[in-house]
């Protein structure tokens, strides 16, 4: 039954190298040249060289957050966090999360998609699918949408771990408040 290891991702999990650098962000390539991914940058970083960016990330104080256009972005905590943006410290984010492909801008526009983006690569598809299946079941059974969102958030927060579960919870509370008009 086994089709070999489904998670033969050692190569993909190797540190990426930057292969392209431009005004809109970083393009990264997995070792072996298999994947090109893009992580967008905060405005204040667009004039930095690639070496300066890598050096700055290494010193800490940088976060990944959802930009106004819905894309995941990398930016300095001191600039983006006071604006009330939910963000994840770079040091809490593993390399596979950095190198996710963002094929379709709409994929990262919902809080759910943004949150699942931060699940580790090996488990993302199955966790995401199981949560969506649970949400569909709850919808069929007539649960209120706010309750479904809350159950989803709890499952995601537990799955993501404590490093940024609280931040996710804030995101969801704001979402539900907005939905309920409170």
């Amino acid at each position: 039954m086994s089709e070999g290891s489904p998670f033969d991702a050692a190569e993909e999990l190797s540190p990426p190298r930057i292969v392209e650098y431009g005004p809109t962000g970083l393009a990264l390539e997995y070792k072996g040249g298999k994947k090109i991914s893009r992580l967008f940058l905060h405005e204040s970083m667009k004039l930095m060289t690639r070496e300066a960016i890598l050096s700055a990330i290494g010193r800490g104080g940088y976060v990944i957050y959802q930009g106004p256009d819905g894309f995941a972005r990398l930016g300095p905590r001191s600039v983006v966090v006071p604006a009330g943006v939910v963000a994840v410290d770079v040091e809490h984010v593993s390399i596979p999360m950095f190198t996710e492909e963002l094929r379709d801008p709409t994929e990262s526009r919902s809080w759910f998609d943004l949150a699942t983006f931060f699940l580790s690569r090996e488990i993302r598809e199955v966790v995401r699918g199981d949560i969506l299946e649970t949400r569909a079941k709850m919808t069929r059974r007539g649960y209120h949408r706010a309750w479904i969102e809350a159950v989803t958030a709890v499952e995601l927060a537990r799955s993501l771990g404590s490093s940024w579960g609280a931040a996710l919870w804030d995101l969801v509370v704001n979402f539900i408040k907005g939905m309920l008009g409170t």
């Binding site: 039954m1 089709e3 488990i123 199955v126 199981d130 969506l132 499952e155 799955s159």
Partner: protein, 113 residues
């Protein structure tokens, strides 16, 4: 060549018990464990553990079907491997032997607790 039987963590023991006779995917495993033991597993913790167990060759898996309600994400089905079943049997044998080692009055006290 006989492969060394790995020791199991408590969660590995629980998951192998759930997968010993049935192939299941994540939500089914969560529901089975919840019903049988009252333990609530997070999906992230579950799949991370299953991933580790697969590397240890305790379980086997295959990709399953997707449905519209899963947004294109496939299910992943797991079942205990031969090594996993041997590890489970070994663990249960050990617990049985340990249990028999207790004086019978201690066992009665535990049962009455």
């Amino acid at each position: 060549m006989t492969r060394e039987i790995p020791e199991l963590t408590r969660l590995e023991h629980i998951l192998l018990s759930a997968l010993a006779t049935h192939e299941r995917y994540g939500l089914e495993i969560v529901e089975t464990v919840k019903k049988a033991m009252g333990v609530s597993l997070s999906l992230g913790g579950l799949y991370t553990t299953l991933h580790r167990m697969q590397r240890k060759q305790l379980v086997e898996s295959r990709w399953g079907e997707t449905t519209e309600e899963r947004g294109g994400a496939r299910r992943r089905y797991y079942k205990a491997s031969g090594l996993g079943l041997r590890a489970l049997a070994e663990e249960r044998g050990l617990l049985r032997r340990a249990w028999r080692m207790s004086p019978s009055n201690a066992r009665l006290a535990i049962r009455g607790a």
